[in-house]
């Protein structure tokens, strides 16, 4: 028997996917009833685009994917208080990179959106930050050297 993939989601990520799932279900119903409206307006970023989808195959594939994720997911909980000075999955880390400040939330690949500050724990920077604590300097290895100094670590309750 093949073990099912376990997905780790932040609370926000879980809520976002749940909203998308509901919208997709509504959309599927509309398409099935052949009352697909003209392209609806965009109401916000990310999954809200899906309100316009008219391609049943696309909607069904995405529905299946989200259902599989939500069925096999675990919502990330903050670590116990004495471990909150360490970067775990779901942590928001304030760093200083070669002298400049930035902030990343470390998430799994399905939630990653580096433009919005959510970086994947499988990216070289995400990987390097995991397990490190406040005050540590993390070097991301490649020919060009980048130093990430951990200033603060926060966890959403």
């Amino acid at each position: 028997m093949v073990a099912e993939t376990k997905y780790y989601l932040t609370k926000e990520g879980f809520e976002k996917l749940s909203r998308e799932l509901e919208k997709l279900k509504e959309q599927k119903k509309i398409i099935m009833e052949e009352e697909a409206p003209d392209i609806a307006d965009l109401h916000g970023p990310d999954a809200e685009y899906l309100t316009f989808q008219e391609d049943l195959g696309f909607v069904e594939r995405r529905l299946e994917e989200i259902e599989a994720i939500l069925k096999n997911c675990e919502i990330l909980k903050p670590p116990p208080k004495h471990k909150r000075h360490i970067v775990h999955l779901g942590a928001t880390v304030e760093v200083e990179i070669n002298g400049q400040k930035d902030e990343f939330t470390i998430v799994t690949p399905i939630e990653a959106d580096p433009m919005a500050g959510r970086i994947s724990h499988e990216s070289p920077v995400g990987k390097a930050l995991l397990g490190r604590s406040i005050g540590e300097k993390v070097i991301v290895q490649s020919s060009i050297r980048a130093e990430y100094k951990i200033k603060k670590i926060k966890y959403n309750k």
Partner: protein, 376 residues
């Protein structure tokens, strides 16, 4: 993977080499091969969908024939494709033969489309002459109608008729042709010379998405199309950069990896997406609904990284920027390459793409190491 890195660096020549058109046996230089290839690929995509033809194959034919033209001789071409995995190399060889022979229906149609795409870049006198030549060469009645509509628009600024499909397609193509001269703002801001156009970037990404999508075991036709349409949203939205929230942008900011506060970044991202979405709707509304929807679906799939293919091409788009930055840096060692190398390690998590970056790093390691300065 080292060979694929070399291939991706080699295809840069399509961005440098200008395409020639012969009007009454006189050569006229227009835009670069990559610029033309982009619009030709969009054109064949729309045409194929309109006529239930194999769009994937036609797009590939156009890409391959342009890569072939970017090589100075057969030897250079053979070397270029020798860098590819065996299956891809064989497919490309076969597609190129079919296009050169013009014996299949698809290759004939693709060739005719390639001929009329150039019309968009001709000035009045040459336009009319070239148009007459084409009347004798083009057999396909639909393509002739699109050609006629294009000539009327360029020559006489004819308004678009909402009833005439070919007129609307001609207008769509003219809109898309804007990306052949639209320089990417991120590079403009760094002050480089010879800034690439959105069309040139797209050409490079489309080929990389096809080749690497295949290597990754994804649907290569899907990854290729995602690459092809990913920047169509910029026709009316422009090329927005993450530095836009900064009130003042100086070259010094770009030399260091400029970091934007998270809240400003998210605010900018929401506005950017809305603007691009509106732009894409406006661009595609000239097309039949099914084709417009397919383009919009592909774009959302890319932009929101909804599928394996969407996630892969989204990251590859960023990797392509590192390749382009490398070209600028190789030409001018003052070019601020460091931020591109720092950022890419935050953005990419795909194993194959990380390997690609590692190989690129390895290739230029000797020179890149010198950029670190003294270590504390």
């Amino acid at each position: 993977m080292t060979k694929i890195v070399d291939f991706l660096l080699e295809i840069e020549k399509a961005r440098r080499t200008k395409k020639q058109i012969f009007v009454n046996n006189k050569p006229i230089k227009t835009r670069t091969i990559a610029d033309h290839a982009f619009l030709e690929a969009i054109f064949v995509f729309v045409y194929a969908r309109l006529n239930n033809l194999d769009a994937d194959k036609m797009i590939k034919m156009v890409l391959v024939s342009n890569l072939y033209q970017s090589c100075e001789n057969e030897q250079e071409w053979r070397h270029m494709i020798s860098l590819l995995p065996k299956n891809t190399k064989e497919e490309i060889k076969k597609l190129n033969q079919q296009t050169l022979n013009g014996k299949t229906k698809l290759s004939r149609v693709a060739q005719e489309i390639v001929k009329i795409e150039k019309i968009i870049h001709l000035k009045k006198k040459n336009l009319l002459l070239y148009s007459q030549i084409l009347d004798k060469e083009i057999r396909n009645p639909q393509i002739l109608k699109i050609k006629k509509a294009l000539v009327e628009k360029i020559d006489a600024h004819k308004q678009t008729s909402q009833e005439d499909l070919y007129d609307k397609i001609a207008q769509f193509l003219l809109g898309v042709s804007f990306l052949q001269s639209f320089k990417r703002r991120g590079w403009v801001m760094t002050g480089v010379r010879d800034v690439e156009t959105v069309a040139q970037h797209t050409f490079h990404l489309t080929i990389a998405s096809w080749i690497l999508g295949e290597k990754k075991g994804l649907d290569p036709n899907k990854t290729m199309k995602l690459g092809l349409i990913h920047d169509l949203c910029e026709i009316y939205a422009g090329d927005q950069t993450p530095y836009d929230p900064l009130k003042k942008i100086s070259k010094d900011i770009l030399k260091k990896p400029a970091r934007i506060p998270k809240n400003k970044k998210i605010e900018w991202l929401i506005k950017k997406k809305q603007k691009e979405w509106e732009s894409l709707k406006r661009t595609t509304e000239l097309l039949p609904r099914e084709i417009a929807n397919e383009i919009k679906n592909l774009w959302v799939e890319f932009e929101e990284r909804l599928t394996k293919e969407g996630r892969f091409v989204y990251q590859l788009d960023k990797v392509e920027n590192v390749f382009q930055a490398t070209h600028y840096w190789l030409k001018d060692k003052e070019f601020p390459i460091v931020p591109w190398w720092v950022r890419i390690k935050e953005v990419v998590d795909d194993k194959l793409l990380l390997d690609l970056i590692a190989q690129l790093d390895e290739k230029f390691k000797y020179h890149l190491l010198k950029l670190n300065g003294p270590q504390k």
